[in-house]
């Protein structure tokens, strides 16, 4: 009885938290929406002192940084997961998993400093850039940070494919490649998808590390696909400006709106993926 009560209260409380967070974000950013409508989302000028709160530069920057990170981390992570789950002997596999789990536990500011002192000079010298603080730097750093999530969860998903399926495939006489493409990956796909979603969430929400390497300038790259230019992300903007905004001001509301945008994107993504799972 007590156990049941405890379980349902915990469940209720955690779902209530989501509602509370959303309510808080919406309520705090409401003054801005009231005063400027909603068109500032596609505005490209962010000058708090002139009451211009265009969200587009940071939005584009966030999408770019996350996309780059996924583009790099997803193939690498899944490949490592396949290797670990199917090919490596148990000892090596344990070592690799352990190292990935360690990687996941490193605080993000450490990655940020690593990026500042190793990645930025490397980019500057190799690509001959004016400054290494670019969307590419943010993407690379984020890729490193989400790699463990993708790898560990994907490996679990691949290993969870039942032994009888593998044996059936072997009995049919199909090769290892075919088994990988036709049996293992399709079966593990829902798990890999969840891993990707979690990784996307982490990449989107990451603040400190990104702030240190992205350049933090509120300008859409020119042309927009040029990821070798400095840019801004929603989180880096919040991180840089939150301390100075006085509570209740429009600036404050605009920064919380950045948070609301992130939350909406995250929820949109997970709904999208959930619907696909149901459809499948």
């Amino acid at each position: 009885m007590i156990l049941r009560w405890w379980l349902s209260t915990s469940a209720l409380l955690s779902s209530l938290t989501i509602v509370l967070v959303f309510g808080f974000l919406l309520q705090s950013s409401w003054p801005l929406i009231q005063q400027q409508g909603i068109t500032f989302i596609i505005g490209d000028e962010w000058y708090p002192f002139e009451s211009l709160y265009g969200m587009l530069p940071a939005l584009v920057g966030t999408v770019w940084a996350v996309a780059l990170a996924l583009l790099i981390a997803l193939p690498c992570g899944v490949a490592a997961a396949i290797l670990c789950a199917e090919l490596l002997p148990a000892q090596l596999r344990g070592a690799m998993r352990f190292s990935m789990e360690l990687m996941a536990g490193v605080p993000s500011v450490v990655y940020g400093l690593l990026g500042m002192w190793v990645l930025l000079p490397l980019l500057e010298s190799q690509l001959d850039l004016l400054t290494g603080r670019t969307l590419l730097a943010a993407g690379l750093l984020l890729a490193l940070m989400i790699l463990p999530t993708i790898m560990v969860l994907s490996e679990d998903a691949i290993r969870a494919v039942s032994q009888s399926q593998r044996e059936a495939a072997k009995n049919l006489g199909i090769g290892w490649d075919a088994m990988l493409w036709r049996v293992l990956l399709p079966q593990a796909w829902p798990g890999i998808r969840v891993a990707t979603l979690l990784a996307t969430g982490r990449a989107m929400g990451e603040t400190v590390a990104v702030m240190l390497v992205v350049g933090s300038i509120d300008r859409i790259p020119d042309p927009f696909y040029n990821f070798l230019q400095p840019a801004q992300t929603l989180t880096s903007r919040i991180g840089r400006e939150m301390a100075e905004a006085s509570i209740g001001s429009l600036h404050w509301a605009a920064l919380l709106f950045c948070g609301l945008l992130l939350a909406i994107i995250a929820i949109g993504l997970s709904l999208l993926i959930q619907r696909k799972v149901v459809a499948a």
């Binding site: 000058y47 708090p48 002192f49 002139e50 500042m116 930025l120 000079p121 500057e124 004016l130 400054t131 603080r133 350049g215 933090s216 300038i217 400095p230 840089r240 400006e241 301390a243 100075e244 905004a245 006085s246 509570i247």
Partner: protein, 281 residues
Amino acid sequence: MFHRCNMGFWAGFLLLGVVLAGPFYAVATTIKIAGSTTLLPILSEAAKQYRITHPDLRLTVSGGGSGMAVANIERGTIDIGMASRPLSAGEAERLGSSTDVIPVARDAVAIAVSKAVYESGVTQLSLAQIAAIYRGEIRNWRELGGLDATILVIDKEASRGTRHVFASVVLGNSRARAPGATIITGSNNEEQSVISRSDQAIGMLSNAWLNDRVRAIAVGEGDAALLPTLENVALGRYVIKRDLNILVPKGSGVEVKEFVDFLRSDQGQAIVEMVGFHSVR
């Protein structure tokens, strides 16, 4: 209900809590100081020396920028704010009657360039040239007599005191836009590290952060160009200058007041000069 190991765990947990919380209960008063990273070395050193004579006082000093100091004094979350600029009109209206703005040091905002730029011959610029760089009208060092290299223009977060002073003198308005900027940095340390690692950067830095790889250039026309030396600041000749202030709420406790007096005393002002700024006397 609990296993033995669980009991041990909880006992350890409680013990750890007591050990960690202990020091906080033992000390009576804490003075929280935060704000401009320009003032940070002064207040850190002062706090360190002040602790020698006041061992039972806790002083915490952290950065964040002048804008952050104003916001937090307003929220009442810190005891002393550090502001490397005067209060804006709006801020003075909100805080003026309840807060004292006390200058503790004088400083120049240096126009800092990478060593390579300085050595290629760009050793002085007029205010108009600097403004043109930050407005995006001049984009290559060649146009200023240097090497053929794109200028890495470093701007600072809009709330930073250094930027206020720079923008009001060079761009004519403390909140002016800088469309020529390449990247934006926050603290003096962050900006210093960017300039020192680049071969083509220009930025605005407090005098105390200059070094061999981060050189100040003279500001002004022709022979009248001046370096931000302490002497030029003291005589009021260098134009991009400012008072470094602390913000102290009126009606602060006696511990805070005594610390403020210490900052303005001979000993306090000696610290100011030791870390590279000019005394207010």
